[in-house]
Symmetry: C2
Subunit: 332 residues, 2 copies
């Protein structure tokens, strides 16, 4: 059954069922001209992200369920990058008339699962028809007593990054090769190219795909961070943004970058340099932040320090290069 | 110059210039992972609306400037329908690569003018590439000490509507005929079909187009209203929603409907019944509300009363019909 057969009110009803709403802050959720929430006592954080079919995803390589998860997670990441707690989302969907109602339901399940995972309530949004592809727009509202801005770093502070880097660029390559949907939770190696099916490489390929198709926003707390950003366009670009916001330079020790096992193992097979891969790839959704050099954080690695001027990367072989904002530009 | 020639950062810079930000509530506006605003002391209202090329508008009949105005006004209308004051918006745009940079700037000017008109600050959003048409998603945040819900009407309350009705359906007809952009502020009658160019009818045609291309959200206050909705899908549908939310019926006196002069003059020329036109047309963006029957409001007309059960319309000739939710369904 296509969504054009069921009409708008059935779609809204389907969305309403996943909205949650047991949140003490919600006075009136979905179903009025606007949702009503209680006043905030903390500072309020708001952000929006759009996911456009053909630009950000292809339904040939991501399942509707995974897309539901992802459309919430990437927005949560923006609130986490301010040191905030996500609270509410608005979800707007431009839907192709030919969309399958079952796919719509699976998408809603993905959204629902992500809402539960991050403890968020869906407050409303919009559904309408698209004559072209699927467009998803999410706005998120969070709060923080002390939001962490991009601009708080001082010269001498350490540069920290959470998790591991480098999976993000690989997944594009893996997806290009497979050009099919893949469920990392029930991996069927037959869906992967022969060179990735060995018992040694398979777990890496699965982890890369899992991270791309079902990204998690970082939920740990990094109290003491003085500036913060999430890595959505790649380490080089997003580090450049922290420098610009703080009017600072930076010195990165490339040897300390936390490369993922998958990046070390798979990048060379694909003709890529693992370090380049870790520095350029976008959509890692890790957090990059400044904090006192001597601080230690579980789940985060010290990779360099902020300095007065010049942005440099020191490579393991002693080579020093300038950090340039190399990465993804949506319009080029 | 196309937007693909200037890149994402130039677009964001263009948007940043219109953001405003002299608002005392804004701690950090555009430029971080999320905007930061001060805590709210009133209840917070949030809503989202999407405008999709081909579904909601065609660039052949609406100018980018008008579209900029409209994309803010329709969202303000949702906050006004809760009796609230609009405060902040997030604007996300999926932009065709072929879009002209000049058109993008004119769109931004329309947004900017609407932000000033309603006293709103643009807090952020997203810009990305679309392989198909232009998609606009706006989320709005407002506040109200005492929000007015759809569900507050009681049996015996009067039904009031602001402004006049009936222009909304006519403009579609007029646009279908002209199939060209039209500037109602500098009307060139040559752009209109011959039958609308007479000195008697021209002002009506211009007013109908103005209302469609550059709608205003109702900004007057209607204190004492006990339930409220804005007319976006037509009087019949939206009145049905108020009834459903309140568990009520309604009796409408069709003779009292505030038909616009344009509706009275133009509808018959187009083979339409003026009353039908007023009841079915969507996108009027007037407010429909309940209040004590004896109350009087400047700019609003009493059109009937809420009753225990049955939804009926009493016509001037004594005929009584049932009110049915006839109007616009996006997916059919």
């Amino acid at each position: 059954m296509k969504i054009s057969d069921v009409g708008e009110s059935a779609l809204i009803e389907r969305i309403r069922r996943i909205a949650g709403g047991a949140d003490a802050g919600v006075v009136t959720g979905i179903g009025d001209d606007a949702a009503i929430i209680h006043p905030f006592t903390n500072k309020v954080l708001v952000s929006s992200d759009m996911l456009v079919e053909g630009t950000h995803f292809r339904l040939s390589t991501i399942s509707p369920f995974q897309l539901g998860l992802k459309s919430i997670a990437v927005n949560v990441s923006d609130i986490r990058a301010m040191g905030g707690a996500p609270r509410y989302v608005l979800l707007s969907l431009a839907l192709p008339r030919s969309l399958d109602m079952e796919d719509f339901s699976r998408y809603a399940e993905g959204v629902s699962q992500a809402l539960k995972r991050y403890g968020i309530v869906l407050l409303g949004g919009d559904t309408c028809r698209s004559d072209a592809g699927l467009t998803i727009s999410v706005s998120i509202i969070g709060e923080a007593e002390w939001p962490i801005k991009r601009s708080g770093a001082k010269s001498g502070a350490g540069v920290f990054v959470t998790g591991t880097l480098g999976d993000s660029m690989l997944r594009l390559r893996v997806l290009e090769i497979t050009n099919a949907r893949f469920d990392p939770d029930k991996p069927d190696p037959a869906g992967l190219p022969a060179e990735l099916r060995s018992s040694e490489l398979l777990p890496y390929a699965v982890s890369v795909l899992r991270r791309h198709l079902m990204p998690d926003a970082v939920t740990s707390d990094f109290s003491g961070a003085t500036s913060m950003i999430d890595i959505s366009d790649g380490l080089m670009i997003d580090l450049g943004r922290l420098c610009e916001a703080g009017g600072l330079g930076v010195r990165i020790d490339a040897a300390s970058l936390p490369l993922s096992g998958a990046c070390r193992a798979l990048a060379p097979l694909m003709g890529l340099d693992p370090l380049d891969t870790a520095m350029i790839g976008g959509e890692d959704y890790e957090l990059l932040f400044s904090a006192p050099r001597e601080a230690r954080f579980e789940g985060a690695t010290l990779i360099g320090e902020f300095v007065e001027a010049d942005k440099t990367i020191i490579f393991p072989d002693g080579r020093v290069t300038e950090l340039r904002p190399k990465g993804y530009n949506h319009f080029k």
